[in-house]
Symmetry: C2
Subunit: 310 residues, 2 copies
Amino acid sequence: MKAGAVDDNGQALSAVSLPTEAYKGQDHGLERMCETIRLAVAKAGLRQEQIAAIGVATPGTMDIPAGVILDPPNLHPWRNVPVRRHIQETFKIPTAFQNDANAAAYGEYWIGAGKDAHSMVLYTLGTGVGGGIVIGDMVLEGEHSHGAELGHVKIEMTNPRQCGCGRRGCLEAYASATAVVKRAQEALAQDGGKSSLHRVLQERRALTSRDIFDAAASDALAARIVEETAFYLAVGAMNMMHTIDPDIVVFAGGMIAAGEPFLERIRHHVRELAFPVPAAKTQIRYALLGNDAGFIGAAACGRQLYGASK
Amino acid sequence: MKAGAVDDNGQALSAVSLPTEAYKGQDHGLERMCETIRLAVAKAGLRQEQIAAIGVATPGTMDIPAGVILDPPNLHPWRNVPVRRHIQETFKIPTAFQNDANAAAYGEYWIGAGKDAHSMVLYTLGTGVGGGIVIGDMVLEGEHSHGAELGHVKIEMTNPRQCGCGRRGCLEAYASATAVVKRAQEALAQDGGKSSLHRVLQERRALTSRDIFDAAASDALAARIVEETAFYLAVGAMNMMHTIDPDIVVFAGGMIAAGEPFLERIRHHVRELAFPVPAAKTQIRYALLGNDAGFIGAAACGRQLYGASK
C-alpha cells in the first residue's frame, strides 16, 4: 500500500509504502490503509487538520459509487469491504474512492502526460493490462464500475490466447508483461536453442519482460516478441482511437522502460491501423508520473469532491 | 435525404424524403437539404418561424464542431461542405450538426430504447456497422470527430477479414449486412450444393442478409451464418461493456427484423464473453425508432443548442 500527501498542484509532499498483507484479512487491511495515510501525512510534516480530502484507489472488482471493494482475487480473502466509509469515519475527512487504473489515468490527466489534453486513454502495462479513460475531467467509471477495463477488450477470435481473467483473446493475454514472457517462452521452445535468452533462462530459472526487452537489440527472437508487443498495443490504442477518439493515448507501467524506440514502433503500427485523421492527430506517449500516478490521481479524485477540476 | 418536424417530446410531426443525387455536386446537395427541410415543415402544417432549431446529421468523414463534411466516399464528389453554416444562413435558425450514427444514438437515447438509460452504446447494422455512444446526455463525438466508429474496432488478428474501409479485422467486416452475405456466399461455395440458399441465389442472382436470416429456421448453413453473426455482435457489445460500461447496448438497422430469437442469441454470447457484473446488468435491446431515429436524433441535437437535455 502506497500513500502520499499531495498539494493542490499535484506535487507529492511525501510517499510511503507498507506491505498490504492481504492474507491477514480485511480488518487488518483497513487498519493498514489508515496507518499508511497517517504516515504519509506525518512524513510531509503536516497535521491531519491540514488535509482537505482523502482519495483511495484500489484494484479489484468494486462498486465505485458505493466505495466498496467487492471480491478482489488479488486481495483474498477480502469481500465487500466498505473502504470509503471506513476511511472517512476514521479520519473525519471527505474521502473519494476510485479504481486504481482510473485513478492513475486521472493523475496523468491532471499533471502528467495528459496535462494539456481534454480527453485521454491510459493503458497500464504490468502483470495485467489496466485501463483508464478521462473525458473532459470526467473519469469514465461506467454504470457498473467496469468502465475502461481495457485489458479485457477482445482482439482475437480465431486463435485466442487464454487470459488470466478466464476469457480468451483479451488484449491482456497478448500485451501484459506476463504475456510477453509467456510468448517468449513459447518461442524459445521452438527455436532450437538459438536465442540468447536460453542462457538467461538457464541462469535465472525465470524470464522477465525486462530481460526480453533488453535482449531485443541483439537477439532476433526477443526482437520479434517486442515488435509483436508493439503491434498488440497499437491495436489497443487504435481501438480506443475509434471508440473514444481521445487527444492522447498514454502507456504506463514497467514496460515503458523500453524507451522511445518501442513507443515509436507502437506509433508506426497505429499509423498503419487507424483512420488517417486520428492516426495523424492523436498523441501517443508514455506516462510521466511513474509509481506515484496512483496516489496523485487518488488525491485528484479527492479534490473533485470540492468541485475542483484540472 | 430524410427530414421531419419533431416536437419537444420527440414526436415526429412529419417525415419526408428526397433523393440525394450526390453526383450532381454539393451545391445541388445543399439546396436539396434545404428543400427537404422546407417540405418537412410544410407537411407538418407549420410555419418556418415556429421551428426553434434545425439538426442535420450526415454520414462520412467530418469535422463535427465545425459543421463540415470533409471527404465522404459515399457522397462523391462532395468535399469540405460547410453544411451547418449553409443551413443556418439559409433559414436563420440555430442549427446543430452531427454524425448520422451519433444522431441516431442520441435519438434512441432521448425517446427510444435508451429512454431510461444514463448511458448507451448503439450499433447500426446496414451495409456497414456504425456506432454511437451517449454518456449522461453527452454524445461522444471524440476530439477528431471519430468517436464511436464502432464498426472499425479490430476483433481479429490471425485471419482478419478485409473491411470496406481498407483495414482488416474490423467488426464491420464480420457483422454488417454486407458481411453476412459475403460469409454466406463463401460457405455456399464450400457446401456441395446442400443449402436451400443455392436455389434463392439461382432465382434472384443475389443474396440479401434478409434471405439468410429467413432461411435460418430450416437451413443449417444459414443457421450457422446467423449464429456466428450473433457471436460477432456479442463481441462488439462485450468490448463496449468493458470500455464504456453503459446501461444499455442497442442494435439498430435492417438486421433487427430477425427478431427476439436473434437478440437472445446475442445475449447468450454476451453472458459467456463478458465479466459477470456487466453481463448480468447491461441491457441488450433493439432500437425502437426505426428509420426516424436519424432525424429525431438530429432534432434532439438541435434542442441541445438551447441547453435542453433528456
